[in-house]
Every structure is written in structure tokens, then in C-alpha cells.
């Protein structure tokens, strides 16, 4: 009897061990909108929430809309820096890119290449002067100047006691008139507040 129990226990243990072993990582596809909070740090859900709200605010700004009426053309915007003033290593360029895409696709503004993108384009144009046919080579010194610069920042406030922490994100976006330095739109999102409870024990 004792022997049979031992045998059964050994078999059960072997099955458990085999079940725990797998040949590779398990991958499952989920909808991109699915909320996935694993560590409590900045993630794609936060990015989506923040970008959607800032884009909506920016597109509905009366001053941005008035530019076309007053000047007879769409405003030209350049993407500046989205500073990371938080306590996490956040790739803020994704926020800026998302805003750029949304504003451009809304038809409310034109965008010119940012500082980082410009040098590559200028190099290409310069090379065209030597290597492209005369009628297809693009002219130098014919760039469109930006009317507004889009900048922003991400800040965090962290509070922690025991095994519970709260993280609040403050994300700002601004459009500034390049000529006058006047701010024509400013948006803030502080909707993201997380309470992170770290469990005391695991098996």
C-alpha cells in the first residue's frame, strides 16, 4: 500500500514537472486596446489615454482653428521636444509622433520635418544637385518655415508607504508661435493615477 502511494506521488510529481517544462515562450495575441498593467510603470495604455486626450484638446482649440481663417492657409507645425521630466525612462518621442500623425491626418495643420529628420532630407537634397536630373532635382532654400512648434513634457509624482505606491502622471503639450513666442494652445492630462500594491509573498 505504502509503495503504491509512493509510486503515485512520484508519477504526479513527474507530470507536474513535465507540465512546467515547455520548449519555448507562450505567445498569445491580444487586441491592441487591451489594458495590460504588469509593473505599474508607463505603458501603451497610458500612452493611448494621454495622446487621445491631448490630441482631442489640441484639435478643438479655437486659436488653432482661427489660424486658417486669418491667414488663408493651414498653419505649419514642427515637432519640438517632449521632455521626460519623470522618474522613469519613457520614450516621449512616441507621444510626439502620435500627436503629429493625428493632427496631420485631421487636416488642421501641415507639419515640417523635425530637427532630427531635417539633416537627412537636406543631405538628400544636396546630393540631388549633383546626381539627379535637372528637372527632377529639388531646389535648395525652399523649405517651409514653421508657424508653430509643438513641445511637451511628462512628469511624475510618486508616493510610497510600505508595499503600496501611487504614481501620478502629468503630461503637458503646448503649441507655441515660433515668431512671437506666444503660446496658442496648452493641454494637460493628469488622468493617469495608479495604485501599485506589491504582494508580500509568493510560493
Amino acid at each position: 500500500m505504502k509503495c503504491r502511494i509512493l509510486m503515485l506521488s512520484a508519477c504526479a510529481a513527474a507530470v507536474l514537472i513535465l507540465a512546467a517544462c515547455s520548449s519555448g515562450p507562450q505567445v498569445s495575441r491580444v487586441d491592441a486596446e487591451t489594458q495590460t498593467d504588469l509593473s505599474g510603470y508607463w505603458n501603451d495604455t497610458d500612452l493611448r489615454t494621454v495622446s487621445d486626450s491631448l490630441i482631442a484638446e489640441c484639435l478643438s482649440s479655437p486659436r488653432v482653428a482661427a489660424f486658417e481663417k486669418n491667414n488663408g492657409r493651414l498653419p505649419v507645425v514642427i515637432v519640438g521636444t517632449f521632455r521626460n521630466d519623470s522618474d522613469e525612462h519613457i520614450d516621449t518621442s512616441i507621444i510626439a509622433k502620435k500627436m503629429e500623425a493625428a493632427i496631420l491626418n485631421s487636416g488642421l495643420a501641415d507639419f515640417v520635418a523635425s530637427r532630427n529628420e531635417r539633416s537627412e532630407i537636406r543631405e538628400e537634397r544636396q546630393e540631388q544637385q549633383s546626381f539627379a536630373s535637372e528637372d527632377s532635382a529639388k531646389a535648395l532654400a525652399n523649405e517651409a518655415g514653421a508657424d508653430f512648434i509643438l513641445t511637451g513634457s511628462v512628469k511624475t509624482i510618486v508616493d510610497k508607504a510600505g508595499k503600496t505606491a501611487t504614481r501620478t502622471y502629468f503630461v503637458y503639450g503646448e503649441l507655441t508661435d515660433v515668431e512671437t513666442n506666444k503660446k496658442i494652445w496648452m493641454g494637460e492630462n493628469n488622468q493617469i493615477k495608479k495604485i501599485i500594491k506589491t504582494p508580500s509573498a509568493k510560493f
Binding site: N84, S86, D87, H89, T156, K160, T198, A201, F203
Partner: protein
């Protein structure tokens, strides 16, 4: 039933085998670090990962790798390893119940190494330098903010746990020595972290933030005289008073090997034939050959660097709170082991047959031998943080400069020097040179 007795020593032996940690791999790495052969040390540590660092010591591995990679100039590798260490420290707050249970049977080395508080803070200091060297002042400032948050949290971390543990130990015996001061941590600010914040904010032209950090350096010295028992660096006053058109050269040097933990053993006699062994980890500073550091600028002034932070002292201070908890737990465990031995002795005295009495006596001796062998202090800690941080600064005309950082021994002779050739010192920029002499 009798068949189960041989199993007991076998299980105990297995536990003891698992709890034994070898430190022999450190010898070669220590030698390479001391000689300044950081790339060799990095290769050695990577080679010893599989054998010398079991999965429960992964924090230890990442800290050691991250620090040596920083010294070797592999800032990407260092940043990655220190980031891994930081994440693992966060996760180590969740204790494994099964491993924790074994720490009550054997010793604290059975549990995953959770990282010391000072390690958690200083990894951000070196990661800030990594990011800065990779050209990301923004990334460096992220690390500075993380230091701030951790220091704020430190004072609230252990309060209740210590009070509860203290109460339970005192209820067991009033003979057990306890130092109530040991549980009081007086570290609330890091001058080194604040100093780096000042430099990085200044380079971003955020002078108000830089001023706040500079004032925090002064407060760290004023409020923690037991850890900052040396004068405030005189160069600090000039850091935010750089005349227009001038440039500032800052030098930050790390010297000496950081502290290690050694075992301190206390033995208390409980009965005539039973004793209690308490093995505790205590910090021991390692001597440094470096007495002072000077920077000689070719054709220009020489500056003597001043101590900004005694990192060993901060390490010892922040360890106090955890040490208090370790002490309580060690006492409880040792008491349990001794009590079982006493119970077996008593059973032996009261046994009706001589065979049973003999068996109980043998088991009692076995329990005492097990207690003696298993009660080992957990001496794990990262080994390659430096002992001291020294700083200096000089205002110059912008231009190209060559200079030498010289490390002097107590006899006044130069024991190590680092040469910086044709460095562009620019106005309005952070011109920071980092020096190392981990000897």
C-alpha cells in the same frame, strides 16, 4: 518508523549544502579591479555567472556586473545590468514563502538576496553617470529623481516591522542583547545624489532646480553630521556662480573598495549542555590606499579634491535597519534550534528504556551540531561599489585642456594617475571627468 531517522541528517545535510556560498571567485576579480584592469574583471565576472551566482543571487550578479561594466567604460552594459538589478530589487519585496520557511530552518542565505538599501540608491548614482556618458542628460536626471524618491521612502520602510520583532524577542528573554539605536536610521539625504542633480540641472540651464540641489547638498551635511563628518567641499559655492563666457571643469572621483560583511558570532549558554549560537552579518570597511586626490591641469592650476560622500558610512548606516530585523530573526531561529535540543535532552532523561534515552541523546547532539553548522550569517552583498566620492571644480576660459588626476598614498607618493588629453572645456556645458581608483 526507525527508517526515517537516517533521512533527517540527509535532509539537513542537503539544506546545509544549498546554504553554503562560495566567495572564491571574488579573488581574481578583486585583484583585477585593484589593478585597474576593469575589462579583465568584467570578463571574469561574466565567466563566473553560472557557477558563482545561483538564481537567488541574481541581484548580486547584476550589481557586480553593472559596477564593473561602468568602471570598464561599457556604459550601455552597465546601464542594462544596473537597470536589471533595480527591477529585481523591486520584485524581491515579494518573498518566496517556501524559501522564507527554509530561512527559519537553516539560515538567511536560503532566501533570494534582496539587495541593500544603499545598493538600491547608489545603483541610480552610477546609472545617472552612465546615461550622461551616453549623451542623455534627460536620462541622467530620471536617475536623480529615482534617488530622491528612494531616500524619501527609506525612513518609512521598516518602522512597524522592527517594533513588532523587538517586542516578540523581548518577550522571549531579557538576556538577549539589543541595541535600540541600531534600528534608527539617520540617513535621509545623499549629498552625492544631490550634487549630481545640481550638475545635470545646471547643464540644462535649469538654475533654480540646480540651486535647490546645491542647497540639499548643504542640508545633507548639516543634518547628518555623523555621516558627513568632514567639511563641505569648498568648490560647491562656485558651482552656480560661473561668470558669463567662462567654463567650469568638474571632477568626480571614486576611491577605495566598499565595505564587506563579516560574521560576528555570539554564543549564549542556555543550560549546562546547551548553547545558543547567534551568527550576525556586520559591516567591515576595507582599507584604501588612497589618501588624497589632486587634479593637475597642464599649464594651469592644481586642485585638491574634497570628500563629498563617505559611501561606506552610508552603506553601514542604511544597513542598520535591516540589521535590526536580521538580528531578531536570527535570535528566534537560534532559540528554536536550541529549544528542540533541550526538549530532546529532557526526553532522554525521562525515557523509560535505555535505547530510547540513547537515541534522544544522539538526536540532541545531532541537533546541536546542526545548529552550529547551519547558523551562518548571510554575508552576501555587492562588492564593487567604491568607498568614497570626492569632487572638485575649477572655472576656466573655454578651450582645449589636458590634465592628470593623481591619487596619493599616505606616504605622499602617487599610487595611481589618470591622464585626460585634449579635452574640450566648453562654456554653458557640463564638463565632467570621472576618475577611479578602487584600491
Amino acid at each position: 518508523m526507525n527508517g526515517t531517522y537516517p533521512l533527517i541528517p540527509a535532509v539537513l545535510c542537503a539544506f546545509l549544502m544549498v546554504s553554503c556560498a562560495s566567495m572564491s571567485h571574488y579573488e581574481g576579480i578583486d585583484r583585477a579591479v585593484s589593478a585597474g584592469a576593469y575589462e579583465e574583471a568584467l570578463a571574469s565576472i561574466k565567466a563566473s555567472k553560472e557557477n558563482a551566482y545561483p538564481p537567488k543571487d541574481k541581484i548580486l550578479y547584476y550589481l557586480d556586473e553593472g559596477m564593473i561594466a561602468h568602471y570598464a567604460g561599457d556604459h550601455d552594459g552597465s546601464s542594462k545590468a544596473l537597470g536589471e538589478a533595480e527591477r529585481a530589487i523591486e520584485l524581491a519585496v515579494t518573498k518566496s514563502v517556501s524559501l522564507e520557511a527554509s530561512t527559519y530552518l537553516v539560515n538567511d542565505t536560503m532566501q533570494e538576496y534582496p539587495g541593500e538599501d544603499y545598493e538600491d540608491i547608489y545603483l541610480n548614482v552610477f546609472n545617472a553617470l552612465n546615461y550622461w556618458k551616453k549623451g542623455s542628460t534627460e536620462g541622467a536626471l530620471v536617475e536623480v529623481r529615482r534617488i530622491d524618491n528612494k531616500i524619501k521612502f527609506l525612513s518609512t520602510r521598516y518602522g512597524t516591522a522592527i517594533t513588532n520583532s523587538q517586542k516578540s524577542v523581548m518577550e522571549k528573554s531579557s538576556e538577549i542583547p539589543y541595541d535600540p539605536e541600531a534600528a534608527t536610521v539617520k540617513f535621509s539625504n545623499s549629498a552625492l545624489g544631490q550634487y549630481l542633480g545640481m550638475l545635470f540641472y545646471r547643464s540644462e540651464d535649469k538654475l533654480d532646480d540646480a540651486r535647490i540641489n546645491r542647497d540639499q547638498v548643504k542640508l545633507a551635511f548639516a543634518n547628518q553630521p555623523h555621516m558627513y563628518s568632514f567639511p563641505l567641499p569648498s568648490s560647491l559655492q562656485d558651482e552656480l556662480n560661473i561668470p558669463a563666457g567662462k567654463a567650469r571643469l568638474n571632477v568626480l572621483c571614486f576611491t577605495g573598495p566598499g565595505p564587506v560583511k563579516v560574521q560576528e558570532t555570539i554564543r549564549l549558554r542556555v543550560t549546562n549542555s546547551n548553547w545558543m549560537k547567534i551568527a550576525l552579518p556586520v559591516f567591515q570597511t576595507r582599507p584604501s590606499l588612497v589618501d588624497h586626490v589632486e587634479v593637475a591641469i597642464d599649464g594651469g592650476p592644481s586642485i585638491r579634491l574634497e570628500v563629498l560622500e563617505d559611501m561606506s558610512a552610508v552603506a553601514a548606516e542604511t544597513f542598520k535597519q535591516r540589521a535590526a530585523l536580521i538580528y531578531f530573526k536570527t535570535v528566534m531561529r537560534s532559540l528554536a534550534k536550541t529549544t528542540s535540543s533541550i526538549a530532546l535532552d529532557k526526553a532522554s532523561e525521562e525515557a523509560e528504556s535505555s535505547d530510547a534515552a540513547l537515541m534522544m541523546s544522539v538526536l540532541s547532539i545531532g541537533t546541536q551540531i546542526y545548529a552550529e553548522a547551519s547558523e551562518q550569517a548571510d554575508l552576501r552583498m555587492s562588492r564593487y561599489f567604491p568607498a568614497k566620492a570626492l569632487v572638485g571644480g575649477v572655472t576656466l576660459d573655454p578651450g582645449i585642456y589636458s590634465y592628470t588626476i593623481m591619487y596619493y598614498g599616505a606616504s605622499g607618493s602617487v599610487i595611481h594617475q589618470e591622464r585626460f588629453e585634449n579635452v574640450s572645456i566648453r562654456a554653458g556645458a557640463l564638463n565632467l571627468s570621472e576618475g577611479l581608483c578602487i584600491r
